[in-house]
């Protein structure tokens, strides 16, 4: 536990997130197994409030970062599909949103490392839809 890096060291400050208009965007994987696998990496590296950080990474629409910019970015353009939801719904469902590292990255914090939490988050993220910016084979 002592070797975990406190995520608090990497929180952005002074950023305004409008929970009613900002969108939380998460690319594949969007399965219970996939989310838990990704969450496991975070909890092996970071802590939050003195405990292992149970979270997945997502991107949030902010000033200068609209949905098209996020989906067509170098990382998300590799995803065939994604899910998107208003930030307020994520928070209302009991998940914290932490502005970690560089914008527009956010950490979606789960209460614990369980399939139930992963399923709940998947439910909140909603329908998985095709990414119109996904790079496809040309020939």
């Amino acid at each position: 536990m002592s070797e975990l890096e406190p995520i608090e060291s990497y929180l952005r400050t002074g950023e305004v997130l409008d929970p009613d208009s900002s969108l939380v965007v998460r690319g594949w994987p969007l399965t219970i197994a996939g989310l838990l696998r990704n969450t496991d990496a975070a909890r092996r590296r970071y802590s939050f409030r003195g405990r292992a950080l149970v979270a997945i990474s997502a991107e949030v629409t902010l000033e200068g970062w609209d949905i098209d910019a996020i989906l067509s970015g170098p990382r998300l353009r590799t995803r065939r599909s994604y899910a998107v939801v208003v930030a307020n719904e994520v928070v209302a469902a009991g998940f914290d949103l932490l502005p970690t590292f560089s914008a527009p990255n956010y950490s979606v914090v789960m209460a614990n490392y369980t399939e139930d939490q992963a399923q709940r988050l998947i439910s909140v993220l909603g329908e998985v839809v095709p990414n119109p910016y996904h790079v496809r084979r040309q020939s």
Binding site: Y10, G34, R45, R75, S139
Partner: protein, 92 residues
């Protein structure tokens, strides 16, 4: 990737997950073939269902005995295949 069952990902990683470096990161210990994960190497990362191509930026000390690998995402494998075919370096 319809050929998912045959995909051997060199380094499992979450393309959504970055750290303070700005790069995607993953644990070297999660790789079945860590010798292939060296700075400068181009590897297949992600998961078998949706792998991505990445260049290994660096490998740095991580928690415990593990190391952290930073990845610069290059795209999807199909892009590279297309380019190599276009250049005549792969049969069409």
């Amino acid at each position: 990737m319809s050929e998912q069952a045959n995909v051997a990902v060199t380094l499992p990683a979450d393309v959504n997950q970055v750290d303070e470096s700005g790069y995607v990161w993953a644990f070297l210990g999660d790789s079945d073939e860590p010798a292939r994960v060296a700075p400068g190497a181009i590897i297949v990362a992600g998961d078998a269902e949706e792998p991505f191509l990445a260049r290994v930026v660096d490998v740095v000390d991580g928690p415990g005995d593990d190391s952290i690998v930073h990845l610069d995402v290059l795209g999807v494998p199909d892009e590279t295949i297309d380019e190599l075919r276009h250049a005549g370096l792969l049969p069409t």
